[in-house]
């Protein structure tokens, strides 16, 4: 049992393609049973192809993680870290093997057609994890989302991800910015930010919801914000087992006693300018200190989109992928610094 880390990039790394790293997960010359396999991406150049992570079955790996080197991670805005950019095709990243995690990548759909940007589809056993992803500018042709959870009995966790400018094209619903269709499964969605989910060409039938969970058996949605969705910011409909609270929306769809409705989008984020989106919270945001403390479970939930450990820092949790800290604010910070911040 060992952690086997391989580097992925185009300047002298172990692999130049994520596909070759994934294909090697079944190489017994590299991995042994119960190993933890880690692929560490570098932002030497853009990655130009997607990957289905389904390998490792013949070896019996304990876990698989596709991550980004700490010096190559995005800072929550586009073009600042390791990036996969693809204009057309299948899910850009598809996870289908148990105990697989993808994190810290930026995924740019280049305004092209995809099933989803990130697809977590598995059966029967846990668990698939998507953390700290920055997903934007693509559209879903069929049932899919910017980040999509599906399958039969699947348990999936999505935390601290940002999705914006995602377009839904499927008639009769589609899914949305982040969504799940998982009638017998469980999806946990914590501290995610979704902005500007729209329909491709027919708002009446291509219901563009920010978060959309039409029939997932056990859904938990907490500390999430959706804004400027063409249909509803949140659509959580079918099952009584859904736990939805401590969320925020720019319409009136954020259900739960501790959720916040009708927030003004421009008052929440640094920038919604097309091409320069920055969905970090800004001073005065309604989301600051309005979340619930989730501790450190599931793994990674406490690490915000900037890599800040909310739990270790003793923060009062915000709604959003970003945990606001006063010195993010630039000039004028002294006037608002008293708002922040330690959990007592």
């Amino acid at each position: 049992m060992a952690t086997v880390t391989k580097t992925i990039g185009t300047t002298g790394r172990d692999y130049s393609t994520i596909q070759a790293w994934e294909d090697d997960l079944d190489d017994s010359g590299i991995y042994s049973a119960s190993d933890d396999a880690v692929g560490e991406c570098y932002d030497d150049s853009d990655f130009t192809a997607g990957v289905s992570i389904n390998g490792g079955g013949t070896i019996g790996l304990s876990s698989i993680k596709l991550t980004v080197d700490s010096g190559s991670r995005h800072d929550g805005t586009s073009g600042t870290g390791a990036l996969i950019s693809i204009a057309t095709g299948q899910p850009i990243i598809s996870l289908g093997t148990d105990y697989t995690t993808v994190e810290w990548l930026e995924i740019d759909g280049l305004d092209g057609r995809h099933d989803s940007a990130v697809s977590l589809v598995n059966s029967l056993t846990p668990g698939l994890f998507a953390n700290n992803l920055l997903v934007h500018n693509g559209y879903t042709w069929g049932a899919g989302s910017g980040i999509y959870v599906g399958g039969y009995g699947n348990i999936a966790v999505v935390t601290n991800c940002i999705v914006y400018n995602w377009v839904v094209r499927k008639a009769s619903g589609g899914v949305g910015g982040i969504g799940s269709r998982n009638a017998y499964g469980t999806g946990h969605f914590f501290n995610c930010t979704v902005h500007n989910t729209t329909s491709f060409d027919n708002p009446a039938t291509q219901l563009a919801n920010g978060f959309n969970f039409p029939d997932t058996a056990s859904t938990t949605v907490k500390n999430c914000i959706a804004t400027a969705s063409e249909a509803s910011d949140f659509s959580v409909t079918s099952f009584s087992t859904a736990t939805v609270d401590y969320n925020a929306s720019s319409d009136t769809s954020a259900a739960g006693a501790n959720s916040i409705d009708s927030v003004v989008t421009a008052d929440q984020y640094v920038s919604t300018t097309i091409g320069a989106e920055d969905l970090h919270l800004k001073a005065g945001s309604d989301c600051i200190d309005a979340g619930t403390d989730l501790g450190t479970t599931p793994t990674g939930v406490n690490i915000d989109i900037d890599g800040r450990d909310r739990d270790a820092e003793g923060d009062t949790w915000d709604i959003s992928a970003h945990e606001f800290v006063a010195d993010d604010s630039g000039p004028g910070v002294a006037s608002i610094i008293l708002r922040r911040r330690r959990r007592i």
């Binding site: 090697d24 805005t77 399958g151 421009a266 920038s271 919604t272 097309i274 091409g275």
Partner: protein, 262 residues
């Protein structure tokens, strides 16, 4: 020249001959240009910003949709493709049906906390690039690179496969292909039902039957490529056939979805 990476064993779930990875000409030249022009390789100026006029800025100018220039508390957004200019600030403005705003000071302050930031210019005269990434300016970019560095485009016409990739798989040069052909080559094989419709999971998403539906019978190419099967299968031997005659991508066989699917 476009490149593909082919599987030459049956380990794991893929089959011998599967196209694992494909890169068009434009991807090859873009990736090599990105390696050369990366902002991390350029010196920052005395304000800690990226220096204007370097190949790092040339890369953005040639390949990105928008140029943003700070003008006081506003930002001027120039669409480098259409030439349209908009001025945005902290007060939301509806442009193309979208409400847009930007707190410029916070945007820049936040960006500069990242030592690998993409802000150029000088303090209070910052500029940066964003929006859709495109390949239309690649020829111009390579002219910039050749004029400003010792790097020649002709020396960067192959995908930078790693040593491991060149021993574990077969890297082949192929005639360039367009976006549609790229999609054909790299699309997965979806499961279908008895009448040829896609089989969907319980959530309505298409089920992938196999990761790749493209396959090349590389053993039929051995004579053309002047190499033996034993050499290709030798995982201790690094094989790189790029620079040899390119294979016509039309020889890549596409598996048809079988009716009856899984």
């Amino acid at each position: 020249m476009a490149d593909i990476l082919i599987k030459v064993d049956t380990r794991g779930d893929r089959e011998d001959g599967d196209v694992l990875f494909a890169a068009q000409d434009k991807h090859v030249f873009m990736v090599n240009a990105q390696n050369i022009c990366h902002r991390k390789k350029q010196l920052k100026n005395s304000d800690g910003l990226n220096t204007k006029g370097t190949v790092a800025e040339d890369y953005y100018t040639r390949t990105h949709q928008y140029k943003f220039t700070r003008v006081g508390n506003n930002v001027e957004r120039l669409d480098l493709i259409s030439g349209v200019t908009d001025v945005l600030g902290d007060t939301p403005k509806i442009i193309d049906g979208k409400s847009q705003h930007i707190d410029v000071q916070r945007f820049i302050t936040k960006a500069l906390k990242n030592e690998n930031h993409k802000i150029f210019g000088t303090k209070n005269n910052e500029l940066w690039y964003g929006g859709k990434i495109h390949h239309d300016g690649l020829n111009g970019l390579w002219s910039d690179i050749e004029n400003k560095t010792g790097d020649l485009r002709s020396d960067h016409s192959s995908w930078p496969f790693s040593d491991r990739e060149r021993t574990g798989w077969l890297a082949l040069p192929v005639l360039d292909f367009n976006d549609k052909e790229m999609e054909r080559i790299t699309e997965p094989l979806y499961a279908t039902n008895d009448v040829g419709e896609f089989t969907l999971d319980d959530g309505g998403a298409r089920i992938v039957k196999k990761f790749r539906r493209a396959k090349i019978d590389w053993e039929l190419r051995l004579t053309d490529l002047n190499i033996t099967k034993e050499d290709i299968l030798n995982k201790e031997k690094m094989i790189d056939l790029r620079g040899k005659t390119a294979v016509d991508q039309k020889l890549i066989r596409i598996k048809k979805p079988n009716k009856g699917g899984l």
